[in-house]
């Protein structure tokens, strides 16, 4: 009987010695790696949050966690986590500073981004310059962009040269002035839209407004001020004319928005290529 009892105890102990904790740091990070490879980013975040809890001083895990927030387009969450991990931005490790800066740009936090570039010790001077120019493109600060090139920083930091095509775009493609577009459409219907490079809509506006105005004129000419026909077309002309002015204003704003978005996305791509 004692012999069997001993065997049972030994068997149980042996089983216990081989047991594994699936939720320890190593297993958690391994599983997170698998989830990352299979692009299950929301689950990666859950695993990495546990890993950060298990090893609070591990900067590389925090870096991957913030990057995952960025990849999963959870910008605000990533920004908030970063703020909690590193209240002082000057102490940001190099691996996190780039991601954090991208998050700030995505969230349009320009002032914070500028402060980070100036204060972060882990960024090299060349990368700081890269980010400064990229930020200027995001804000569409034409004067600042031109100044950087006049200062001959390109000789000191050759990677800045990759921004050349974008500088040319900014110099050649001026932003449209919505007020001017509206003013032009007031003088000649459709002209504001043509100014905002909406050629087809500009021509349609001109045709609609002029045709309805001509119909109204015909009505009044034939029947005088008692012409219902003239008033109906007159009202229609007024509506189309107002719509054409407002449309020109909107077209110019839309043109600016699209140009800024294109320049901004190309600037981000150049910075990430320069980082490699």
């Amino acid at each position: 009987m004692q012999k069997w009892l001993l065997i049972l105890v030994l068997f149980t102990l042996q089983k216990m010695s081989y047991s594994q904790n699936l939720f320890d740091f190593d297993k958690t990070t391994q599983y997170a790696q698998y989830l990352f490879k299979t692009k299950q980013y929301k689950l990666v975040i859950e695993e990495l949050e546990r890993a950060v809890y298990l090893s609070p001083d591990n900067d590389s895990i925090k870096s991957v966690l913030i990057k995952t927030y960025l990849i999963d387009e959870q910008y605000s969450e990533g920004y908030n986590r970063c703020k909690i991990f590193y209240p002082e931005t000057s102490n940001l490790p190099n691996s996190i500073s780039n991601t954090y800066l991208t998050l700030l740009i995505k969230l349009n936090k320009w002032e914070e981004a500028r402060y980070l570039i100036a204060s972060c010790n882990s960024l090299s001077d060349e990368m700081k310059k890269n980010y400064e120019i990229s930020l200027a493109f995001h804000i569409y600060d034409v004067k600042y962009i031109e100044n950087i090139y006049l200062k001959n920083d390109t000789l000191k930091y050759p990677s800045i040269l990759s921004f050349d095509p974008l500088v040319k775009i900014v110099e050649n493609e001026k932003l449209k002035r919505p007020g001017l577009a509206a003013g032009l459409s007031t003088i000649v219907p459709g002209l504001g839209k043509i100014y905002a490079k909406d050629y087809k809509d500009g021509i349609v506006s001109f045709v609609f407004v002029s045709l309805s105005a001509w119909q109204s004129y015909r009505g009044f000419e034939k029947r005088g001020t008692k012409s219902v026909y003239g008033y109906i077309y007159g009202g229609l002309t007024l509506a189309f004319y107002s719509g054409n002015i407002f449309g020109a204003y909107k077209s110019a704003k839309k043109y600016n928005r699209e140009l800024k978005a294109e320049v901004s996305s190309r600037a981000s791509k150049i910075v990430s290529e320069n980082l490699k």
Partner: protein
């Protein structure tokens, strides 16, 4: 014979479960987007225009296919814009949309492949 025929037709008449089946398939009027757009009016002007809009949708527009190349349609755009920007800007914005309601510049808008319409929200 006539009596038997009448009784037979009664036997095959619709039952409750058939009606329920049809009701599940058919989209009820409450689910139409224009009913949703006309809801939540904040003042008298919005209520009046929502009423006019529903009248147009129910009695005029419903008699024909949806020809507007945009999503939402021009009338839905107008009522949404009116609620969003107020009476004056809303009406002017709707007039601008009428000027743009042509298929000449599809490259300017996103395209909904399901409905085959261009997306242009106020």
């Amino acid at each position: 014979m006539i009596l038997l025929l009448l009784i037979t037709s009664n036997v095959y008449s619709q039952q409750k479960k058939d009606i329920a089946f049809v009701e599940n398939i058919c989209i009820t009027s409450e689910n139409h987007t224009h009913w949703l757009v006309a809801k939540n009016n904040k003042n008298g002007v919005q209520s009046v225009f929502s009423f006019l809009f529903l009248g147009y949708k129910s009695f005029i527009s419903s008699q024909d296919n949806n020809h507007c190349g945009f999503e939402p349609s021009c009338s839905e755009y107008a009522i949404t814009s009116l609620k969003k920007h107020g009476f004056i800007i809303g009406v002017i914005d709707a007039c601008d949309r009428l000027l743009r309601c042509n298929g000449l510049s599809p490259e300017k808008y996103e395209y909904n492949e399901e409905t085959e319409q261009l997306i242009d929200k106020p």
